[in-house]
């Protein structure tokens, strides 16, 4: 196999490779692990895929928080199955990042030292059972909009992991919606609890799509490389449009007085996001930022004896085989 080392290439050779790379992308062909790729493409993808992987894994915490307090055994089993899926999604994504020549240990390390991010939404606390409904409906709903689009991303392993993940996500959104629907059929208190959860999670869900296109640091290059297939604002609009009817169907109100159908655009207009809050949460000052990473670190450290035991067992087996 030929391994390319960019450092040993002349600038005209490099230009040729770059041009060929972009032609391939323009022709809607996928980039596969052994292909030559610009160093910036590789870095950009490792950043995006690992951020996505970390989100799946950190995202288990706000829901894990309610597993022991689910109102019925059935809801408990469902929530457990959902959280289990998210761990699996983390795995699919970490392994597709690893095809770009970075190790799992390095990825985890950058989550722990704060250099890698995860979705800002998971830094909000989950205060009531209804939050499990809002998370499934809105947060998984927003993730699905994003992930459906990423099934067409230019990096093959990432695109394929998105296909696998999307197949499993529909259950997540539906179980969340089902929780809210059931509460909305209940007592006045239960209805209020559902509405309160939606009030708290609606705006943070819109923030999940990231800054406006004009303000997004990585957007233009990512679109050119077809890492992203639709812009933050396009995806956000899609999510708003689909959520309005879903809210209405079970009598929930979305907490935005500016939310109104725009006949001309054929979309709903909606109010401005509080970007100061977004920046605060992304830069580490959300309610739960410290707790989320500290918990991950603790779980990782406390699990080290398992990894050690596996290694010791393997070694013992090997030495027996030799003997």
């Amino acid at each position: 196999m030929i391994q390319f080392d960019s450092k040993e290439l002349s600038s005209s050779e490099l230009e040729g490779l770059n041009a060929h790379f972009q032609e391939r992308i323009d022709a809607e062909e996928k980039i596969e692990p052994k292909d030559w790729m610009p160093e910036k493409y590789r870095k950009n993808l490792i950043r995006q895929i690992s951020q996505h992987a970390h989100s799946e894994v950190i995202g288990m915490q706000p829901e894990g928080n309610w597993i022991t307090r689910a109102p019925t055994l059935h809801r408990k089993a469902v929530l457990l199955a959902k959280v289990q899926d998210e761990a699996g999604h983390g795995l699919y994504l970490y392994s597709s990042a690893e095809t770009m020549g970075i190790t799992r240990e390095e990825l985890i390390e950058s989550l722990h030292d704060g250099s890698a991010k995860y979705a800002q939404i998971f830094n909000y606390p989950t205060l009531s059972w209804a939050d499990m409904g809002a998370l499934g409906w809105l947060v998984d709903g927003a993730a699905i909009v994003n992930q459906v689009s990423l099934q067409r991303t230019s990096y093959g392993p990432y695109a394929r992991s998105m296909v696998r993940i999307c197949k499993e996500e529909s259950f997540h959104q539906r179980q969340g919606y089902h929780i809210l629907m059931t509460l909305m059929e209940g007592s006045a208190e239960q209805k209020a609890m559902a509405q309160d959860a939606v009030n708290r999670f609606w705006w943070p869900s819109l923030m999940m799509f990231g800054p406006h296109d004009a303000a997004s640091a990585h957007s233009a290059q990512s679109m050119k490389w077809k890492v992203k297939r639709q812009t933050n604002d396009e995806l956000r609009q899609k999510f708003v449009d689909q959520s309005v009817e879903q809210a209405k169907a079970i009598g929930l109100t979305l907490p935005d007085p500016d939310l109104v159908w725009n006949e001309e655009r054929g979309h709903f207009d909606f109010g401005e996001i509080d970007w100061a809050e977004f920046d605060r949460v992304v830069s580490g000052s959300g309610h739960c930022n410290r707790e989320r990473v500290a918990h991950h670190r603790r779980a990782h450290d406390e699990g080290s004896w398992v990894r050690d035991a596996i290694c010791a067992y393997e070694e013992k087996k090997r030495s027996r085989e030799v003997a």
């Binding site: 996928k30 980039i31 199955a81 093959g156 259950f171 539906r174 179980q175 009817e245 169907a249």
Partner: protein
């Protein structure tokens, strides 16, 4: 006459098009990995069936046994709530 008792068995996987997973297509005997790749090219991709080939030593493949299926998959079978269709939603939002 020499026979091929010393030749190793390789499993062959083909990616038919960029973006798709490699799929198992068959196996062949070869001396080493490079030779296995060339043989695979000659016998499995004569009509442009693949843009990428993987060869793996058959002995390196660890496989589950179908006869063990029941106990192996048992705990996964009784969880209908893992499927989207388990949740009955109003018609107007059922495409979710």
């Amino acid at each position: 006459m020499t026979d091929n008792v010393n030749m190793k068995l390789y499993e062959v996987f083909l990616r038919s098009r960029r973006g798709l997973d490699h799929k198992h297509v068959g196996s062949l005997h070869a001396e080493d990995q490079e030779q296995a790749l060339e043989y695979a090219r000659d016998v499995y991709t004569r009509r442009g069936e693949g843009v990428s080939i993987w060869v793996v030593n058959s002995s390196d493949i660890c496989a589950s046994q179908e006869s063990d299926c029941e106990s192996f998959y048992d705990p996964l079978d009784d969880k209908p709530y893992r499927h989207a269709t388990h949740y009955k939603l109003p018609d107007e939002v059922n495409s979710m």
